[in-house]
Subunit: 353 residues, 2 copies
């Protein structure tokens, strides 16, 4: 993975800034269509106001999806602005899923702020999520063109996969064994589908044929899987000072993430010892489990690493990254646009290291 | 309201049966696209299987919306089958809202069966609702035509209004006063928007111009408001043997329905006594309130009636019905189709009497 290509160096911050600058006003305009109290709760979720309704300016994330959507329009030879409804719609779908997932998962914090269900109650988290979901599909259909209808079709299929992925993730929590293939399918739905849509939606709005749109979706899908593999490694071994999460965060939540399922699928004594430990863990109450000290998580992390779960996941991130970048070469597009897609992939995959 | 027109007598059961017969297989096909466990929980919600997964055949409701969607296609001179994706999409949006509303309202029973959140838990109610919402927009975009894109735009606007209406309904529970205008706006969003969409969506799929589609939406919107006015009267004075609900059901839930807000807005001693009683009620805990005996609800119902709330709401149902039927005469459509729309309006408004 290449971070010092002279053609793309410095390109990523500019791409992210362009995505933010073009999408933010359109996103605020769209959210402004909602009636109060829905619009107010949505503004809290986006960090535009605080829990008391005072103006705020919270961290709104890296904005990779808007950057992809605008670049995607350029892949089809259109102006980046053509991708704006796609960027806004994808952000709305992403935030719909955050609102519902935080409630379902009982997560109390997001981007260092209390989550919507924690501040405004579960009903508001459901309703505002629903409203953002509807708004996403309204925004994408706004242009009223045949291109917009094709973009809407891709967005809605991605949305359904996103919901499927969350359903699988929840179902896995209650299962003793999850295969690597099942975990990859879940992560493809939960993370891959919307990145795939972001990478293609601008091109579709710009009149791309299915061949170009499908190749860009393939790039986004594998980029999502690469991102998730990196994220799964950081979820266990990441430094709390850079990830902003607790140490061993995914182990504390007993998540069946890629390093865990890959380690459990391996043969040998480390895998056997890990299987025995995690089987015993699964029978513990949450309170017992919460009382674990650091050393107990360290033992599990060491066994996952010894069984090869970390190495496999790091290699998987590279394989997914390579597949993503290869997809860019399947179809013609302006060279500088392809370079920028590749630079965004580098940024997404090597982040936080 | 006319129930014995020789041109339409017997037409309503046939219209409802046609709606059910044409929409049901397409609905099952669409739900079959979902991955398990989402598809299984959805099948339970629709009454196709019981809580143990055994085949079931529960009451699936009156199917007014599918009947409207097919008739709507005929209004545009198309075959009724043209309206099928619209019928399915509207049913999916309706059921998305039932799944989320039952959870938010804490309702444990729907159509004499335990609700999804009660059987499968809150997370499944959220997820399966989300999945049906996405599926609705996928189905409507399936034909891939410009007509389908226009139909999708109307469906998504109706969906957003539906969510706005539920948000308003919940917000009103915490407010001391709600005006008649606010109540009508909420009911227009919550009930009117989707009936409006059902009445127009088939026509849009059949190539109708905006003038015809807007007139049919207007008919459906006012039909929804007429239905809701009748429903609000039944919610207080309906016979439990025919409504299937508890006596004084809306009073038990302290709902600010039309008869209540109209009575509170009136002048005179009955309105004043009602205001005093309901203001005191609002301060009671749910447990205290649940201990009320029949006579206490009867007193409140009598005051609402004395203050004119019942009479006003019954008159409002007629006004909305008249406005709905008048909308049918604004635009050209085949005479028999207009008669059937009017017959469906009769059926919806005089039901359960």
């Amino acid at each position: 993975m290449n971070q010092s290509d002279p053609h793309t160096d410095g390109a990523v911050p500019a791409l992210l800034e362009r995505g933010r600058a073009l999408a933010a006003p359109a996103l605020r305009e769209a959210v402004g269509r909602l009636a109060p109290p829905t619009s107010t709760v949505a503004a809290y979720h986006f960090g535009w106001i605080d829990a008391q309704g005072r103006p705020a300016d919270s961290d709104s994330g890296k904005a990779v999806r808007p950057a992809l959507a605008l670049l995607s329009a350029e892949a089809a030879g259109a102006e980046p602005e053509t991708g704006v409804p796609g960027a806004v719609a994808v952000e709305l779908v992403h935030n719909f899923s955050l609102l519902h997932d935080d409630l379902m998962d009982g997560d109390e914090q997001r981007r260092h702020r209390d989550t919507v269900w924690k501040v405004h109650g579960p009903a508001q988290a459901i309703l505002v999520g629903d409203a953002l979901f509807a708004l996403a599909h309204e925004v994408i259909l706004d242009p009223g063109t045949a291109h917009a209808a094709r973009a809407a079709r891709r967005l809605v299929v991605a949305s359904r996969k996103l919901v499927d992925g969350q359903a699988q993730d929840i179902a896995f929590e209650h299962r003793e064994r999850v295969s690597v293939a099942e975990c990859l399918e879940m992560e493809g739905n939960k993370t891959g589908s919307l990145l795939a849509c972001a990478a293609a939606i601008g091109a579709v709005l710009g009149g791309a044929d299915d061949e170009l749109a499908d190749a860009l979706e393939l790039y986004g899908h594998h980029l999502g899987l690469a991102f998730q593999a990196v994220d799964d490694v950081l979820g266990i071994w990441g430094d709390p000072r850079t990830t902003g999460k607790q140490a061993w965060s995914d182990l504390r939540q007993r998540k069946k993430s890629l390093p865990v399922v890959a380690a459990l699928a391996a043969r040998g004594s480390a895998a056997d010892r890990l299987t025995a430990l995690l089987t015993a863990d699964a029978k513990k109450s949450q309170a017992e489990f919460d009382d674990f000290d650091e050393a107990e998580f360290a033992v599990r992390a060491a066994l996952i690493e010894e069984a090869g779960g970390r190495e496999w996941t790091e290699a998987e991130a590279r394989r997914q990254y390579d597949t993503a970048v290869a997809a860019l070469h399947r179809v013609p597009m302006p060279g500088p646009v392809r370079d920028r897609f590749a630079a965004l992939a580098d940024f997404v995959v090597v982040r936080q290291k």
